[in-house]
């Protein structure tokens, strides 16, 4: 099929581009760059194997980081979805409460970070709180938006069929909001990561942030980049998790298997 050969071509093109960037970085890092500021990819990989993996404290710090993100994200999902459902339930509750959500979301939260640290201390609690306060808003906003955009015709049809208020919510309003919820969950994931890592970098006594600063201040870029690489992998894994959940749980996406069958027929 044409589309499959096209997508495999796109895959190889992507691979070539990434390989090219790595090669360029390798050449620049080896022969031209100041070793105090940059390390070639091979050096970063060596640092990962020799300086990160054998260091149980760094592994522990990374593990703690994952736990903080998971905790902050879990809280964001729980409170974000519940608040979203309550605010979005009726047009009255929406017009009453949604402006508050929008106002809070508009505040640049970084300016509150010192306050968060003062309040929650230097440990994981502050990171979880900051990750939560970042992650919860996109979820609330998207749940509310999803419930608001339900089609008038669908509501009228449900009513004409004799659906009760709770049946309408369960079978019409909620399924309609699911794709929007997942948009919120994906944005919320990105924001949670941002919040946790910002708080880590701002102050940390033994977490990922502590080691990042340690390496940076000692002009030791190889392990620094290796650590940043680990954070990137964590971020990708969390995002993949959300994407998989979306694929499994969105009613509209379950059809993709059936659609493939249809095309094959």
């Amino acid at each position: 099929m044409m589309s499959s050969s096209r997508s495999s071509l796109a895959f190889w093109l992507r691979l070539v581009l990434v390989a090219f960037i790595f090669a360029a970085l390798e050449i620049y890092g080896r022969f031209y760059a100041d070793p105090a500021f940059m390390s070639p990819p091979s050096g970063i990989f060596r640092a990962f194997v020799e300086r990160i993996l054998p260091e149980p404290k760094i592994i522990e710090a990374l593990f703690l980081c994952v736990l903080q993100i998971a905790a902050a994200y879990g809280l964001s999902i729980l409170f974000g979805t519940l608040t979203g459902l309550l605010v979005g339930a009726t047009s009255f509750s929406r017009s009453a409460f949604f402006p508050i959500v929008l106002l809070l979301f508009a505040i640049p939260q970084v300016s509150l970070l010192p306050l968060v640290i003062l309040f929650f201390g230097l440990g994981p609690a502050a990171k979880i709180a900051f990750g939560f306060s970042h992650g919860v808003f996109p979820i609330i906003m998207n749940v509310v938006a999803g419930m608001r955009d339900v089609k008038e015709l669908h509501l009228r049809a449900a009513r004409s069929m004799g659906a009760s208020r709770s049946e309408t919510i369960r079978h019409v309003i909620l399924p309609h909001a699911v794709p929007s919820l997942f948009t919120g969950l994906r944005l919320g994931m990105t924001m949670t990561l941002l919040g946790v890592i910002l708080a880590e970098l701002y102050v940390s006594t033994g977490g990922v942030g502590y080691y990042t600063r340690l390496f940076a201040e000692n002009y030791n870029p190889a392990p620094l980049f290796a650590l940043i690489g680990c954070l990137a992998v964590i971020a990708i894994l969390f995002n993949e998790l959300v994407r998989l959940a979306e694929k499994r749980l969105t009613p509209g996406l379950r059809r993709s298997a059936a659609l493939t069958n249809l095309v094959k027929e």
Partner: protein
């Protein structure tokens, strides 16, 4: 046949408070009797209140004044899903449910026992020739197929009365004609009472026993045209001179209404004077 299925007495519908500047009188003192098993089309320019009237009959709107009885029961702004089913445009199918799930949910809302859901659904799908698409999702079907399914969903609830609100409006003309023929066949077999809203002249003549021609806002019944032709109707009916005559008669009645509506839209001041 003389038994009345739907009885509308002096129904008026006003949006907004009377006297308020944005208040609109959508229906003005409408009275209409629809016999059992009759196919009635409401025909009129857009904005003449045909859909409003349908929603009043179906209990989705409460009329500002007047009364509407369906099967002897007063309908007063609350739906009677055991007696009345609606068919809207094809986009009313819930996109998050597969076709069969769309039927199940309609039957569930209507309060039909679960054991009957799948039998009834498959029977209705078979009637419109769509039974092999039960597990597809609406957006995997063409617009015409979706409307077939949507019609079947309205039929599977097995109400005596079917209200259809411009069900074919989103379809192209050819699909629309074919579905119209199918509908005529299908309904001749079931003996349902049908009120059908349309702004297509050919559709109205082809499907109806009686055409209720409505005037522009405020909606009033201008005249009622009888189409004496037995159901089910074949496409040959469209080639008969009588078909064109009726169609032209409807157009002559509507032309002035459409012009005055358009004039009102262009220049509200002069139309009011």
């Amino acid at each position: 046949m003389s038994e009345s299925a739907i009885s509308i007495r002096n129904v008026s519908q006003r949006y907004g408070d009377a006297g308020a500047p944005d208040s609109v009188l959508a229906l003005d003192d409408i009275s209409l009797e629809v016999r059992k098993g009759e196919f009635v089309c409401l025909l009129g320019p857009s904005g003449c209140g045909k859909s409003t009237l349908l929603n009043v009959i179906g209990g989705l709107f409460k009329p500002t004044s007047g009364m509407c009885h369906v099967a002897g029961r007063l309908v007063d702004g609350s739906p009677h899903p055991d007696k009345i089913a609606f068919v809207f445009q094809e986009s009313t199918l819930f996109p998050w449910y597969s076709i069969i799930e769309n039927f199940r949910i309609a039957l569930k809302f209507q309060g039909i026992p679960q054991s009957e859901w799948d039998d009834r659904a498959m029977q209705a799908l078979k009637a419109v020739g769509m039974s092999s698409f039960a597990s597809h999702y609406p957006d995997q079907l063409s617009v015409g197929m979706r409307q077939r399914v949507n019609m079947a969903r309205g039929i599977c609830v097995e109400t005596d009365i079917l209200l259809m609100d411009e069900p074919f409006a989103a379809l192209d003309e050819q699909t629309r004609m074919v579905l119209g023929e199918d509908l005529s066949q299908l309904l001749a077999a079931t003996g349902k009472t049908i009120v059908f809203v349309t702004h297509s002249l050919a559709e109205a003549v082809f499907l109806s026993d009686r055409i209720v021609v409505m005037s522009a806002r405020p909606g009033k019944i201008k005249t009622i045209i009888d189409v004496n032709e037995a159901h089910p109707r074949s496409p040959d009916f469209m080639l008969e001179p009588r078909f064109s005559e009726l169609r032209n008669e409807c157009y002559a009645l509507l032309r002035d209404e459409i012009r005055s509506t358009m004039a009102a839209q262009r220049d509200p001041q002069s139309a009011g004077a």
